[in-house]
């Protein structure tokens, strides 16, 4: 009887999990399917899920008519650049917050996190003016800087959580062994916290890759990443759904592959410290 009940609840949970996963995945599936349709089928009032004339024309056109690889390269530079720069700033910051705590450390962390709750549009004008005055508009450097700034609180929080799990005594032992702060961070802290640093890097790459608001506002042609490239298919001449979908699929696939291969690392990183 007990086994039967447990089997039933397992069945219900499995069904719920698949339903929710299906709902989340459906828009991605729809985009992928639309990318293989003609423009006429894409805007059909009675769209078909699988029964349509499959075509690769949209992909051919996207690749031939636009500078996909330029945008792809911009995305790579911006997401990797901001993630590495962010780590260089976040590691020492998280180290000091985790190991040299003061009474105000928690408040500082909360304040950093609260900046993520601020609507980006609230700082749009000052940021735009600053970028204009410093000549950073439509530059990859500008995008690297803004992505670093907006994702830094999350990076510091994640690393802080990781570092807090490392026994303080190990770092004290290294100090007794003659390590200075740089030795302590490079030879002891970083190797121990490597899984956490890797998942922080991965998450930041994904967040930067998918960021659209600042990419659209601060870039035009030279530094536009893939998110801006997708948006370019919504033009005054109209919406080209099939091509837009093909462009979206090509923008999403690289990060989807990265996410797929690193999902274990990511889940561990995001849940670290939550359950002890």
């Amino acid at each position: 009887m007990a086994i039967n009940k447990s089997y039933q609840s397992k069945l219900i949970y499995t069904f719920l999990a698949w339903t929710i996963s299906g709902l989340i995945f459906f828009p991605i599936l729809w985009t992928l399917l639309t990318s293989f349709k003609t423009e006429a089928e894409a805007i059909s009032v009675s769209p078909s899920l699988f029964m349509f004339d499959w075509t690769l024309d949209n992909y051919k056109e996207v690749l031939s008519q636009s500078s996909y690889f330029t945008h792809f390269w911009n995305s790579v530079v911006i997401s990797l650049g901001s993630s590495i720069l962010g780590l260089l700033i976040a590691i020492p910051a998280a180290w000091s917050m985790a190991f040299v705590q003061t009474k105000r450390t928690k408040n500082l962390l909360m304040w950093m996190l609260s900046t993520k709750m601020l609507p980006p549009v609230g700082v749009l004008i000052p940021i735009y003016l600053l970028f204009r005055d410093f000549g950073l508009l439509d530059t990859k450097l500008g995008l690297v800087i803004i992505m670093t700034i907006i994702n830094l609180p999350i990076m510091v929080w994640m690393l802080y959580t990781y570092f807090r799990e490392i026994p303080h005594e190990i770092l004290e032992a290294s100090r007794m062994d003659g390590a200075n702060i740089v030795d302590e961070i490079f030879y002891v802290l970083l190797p121990i916290a490597l899984p956490g640093i890797a998942s922080t890097l991965l998450l930041n790459v994904i967040l930067s890759w998918n960021e659209a608001f600042w990419s659209l506002i601060l870039t035009a042609a030279n530094a536009a990443p893939l998110t801006a490239f997708i948006a370019s298919y919504s033009s005054p001449e109209g919406l080209f759904y099939a091509k837009l979908s093909a462009a979206s699929a090509m923008a999403v696939v690289p990060i989807l592959i990265l996410g797929w291969f690193s999902q274990k690392q990511l889940v561990r990183g995001l849940s670290f410290g939550a359950v002890k």
Binding site: P167, I170, E172, A173, R175, G178, A179, I192
Partner: protein
């Protein structure tokens, strides 16, 4: 050289005075044990000597030099932590080599020193393993090995055996004592276990609430404790205390007698009581006796003790072995008292 001198050393955490002014001289080559209950400040003082905690006031001298503001690495001391604090990502070899690499010692010399340390501590077959693949005792040996190779002027041990099981603890206790004899280096050892303190120390410093109550050899503390706290803390099972009316001697208000100094009789004695729990250890027996006054005495009896639970007995002790304490808990010298 490895002398350490503490002069009026204090430590405050915000408004809390964790260490009240302490003066202590640790001689070169001495094995001194800081012992006391949890939260008495013994570990904090050790960490202050190591340089891991700032000193609020006073000075710490190492080999005659003021080291109060010197960073930990420059004090020439090595520390062994309670949790071993090994580097989990490094092999045993690299753990031991770490302080030498930081000191820019040549590769040949590092190899030689690792070989020496691993020979002393029987680590030869574990050198290429990581700490996670070692038992508690082996990890503690690696931690000691890492300390040895630096050839420090003094070793600091912060409750190094607390995480080991009872039998391993006894073995490691002997190993550390032997290591001290062979290296003849100063060792400062923190523990809350008074058995460790008694068996290992040249001198013991008994801590209580941020002050050192008494410093002396184990037998000095056992035979001539300065006050009731030290008398109760040193010795296992702990000393029995009984309050007395100050009739004969105005200043004495409490007597202390060790379990091993009490004699049991079925016919007569100083104190009458009823046998409570009897703990047979084989070689000896601990008998808990409930006195008529409500106090419970512990008696160390022979292994073949044939008392029964609930039996009425008498206890007595050689008057010269009974300690007397005044109202403030200080030991009253025997010539001052009338029995």
């Amino acid at each position: 050289m490895g002398s350490i001198t503490l002069k009026k050393v204090t430590k405050n955490f915000d408004d809390v005075k964790v260490i009240k002014p302490i003066d202590l001289e640790i001689k070169d080559g001495e094995f001194i044990v800081f012992v006391g209950p949890s939260g008495c400040g013994k570990s904090t003082l050790l960490r202050m000597i190591a340089g891991l905690e700032d000193t609020t006031s006073g000075t710490i001298e190492i080999d005659g030099q003021d080291a109060t503001a010197t960073p930990p690495a420059k004090r020439g001391l090595a520390m062994v932590f309670q949790s071993y604090a090994l580097y989990p990502h490094m092999t045993v070899r690299n753990n031991i080599a770490f302080p030498l690499k930081r000191a820019k010692v040549s590769a040949d010399e590092i190899e030689q020193k690792i070989a020496n340390a691993s020979k002393i501590l029987n680590l030869d077959s574990y050198l290429d393993r990581k700490p996670g693949q070692l038992s508690g005792g082996q990890r503690q040996r690696v931690a000691i090995g890492r300390a040895i190779v630096r050839q420090p002027s003094a070793f600091l041990f912060d409750e190094p055996l607390s995480n080991l099981d009872a039998s391993l603890r006894v073995n490691m206790r002997i190993e550390i004592s032997e290591l001290h004899k062979s290296l003849a280096t100063t060792m400062v050892y923190v523990t809350h276990d008074q058995v460790e303190a008694m068996t290992m120390a040249d001198r013991i410093a008994v801590f209580n609430a941020g002050v050192i109550e008494q410093v002396g050899t184990p037998l000095e503390l056992y035979n001539n404790p300065i006050n009731r706290f030290v008398a109760g803390f040193i010795g296992s099972p702990k000393m029995n205390f009984i309050d007395v009316n100050s009739t004969d001697s105005a200043s004495v208000c409490c007597l202390g007698v060790r379990p091993e100094h009490l004699e049991i009789s079925r016919d007569s004695g100083t104190w009458q009581g009823k046998v409570g729990v009897i703990e047979h250890l084989g070689s000896e027996t601990f008998v808990h006796v409930h006195l008529a006054s409500g106090t419970t005495f512990t008696v160390r009896a022979s292994g073949d003790c044939d008392l029964n639970y609930g039996e009425h007995i008498y206890l007595s002790a050689d008057p010269s072995k009974i300690l007397h304490f005044d109202e403030a808990g200080l030991t009253v010298h025997k010539t001052q008292t009338v029995n």
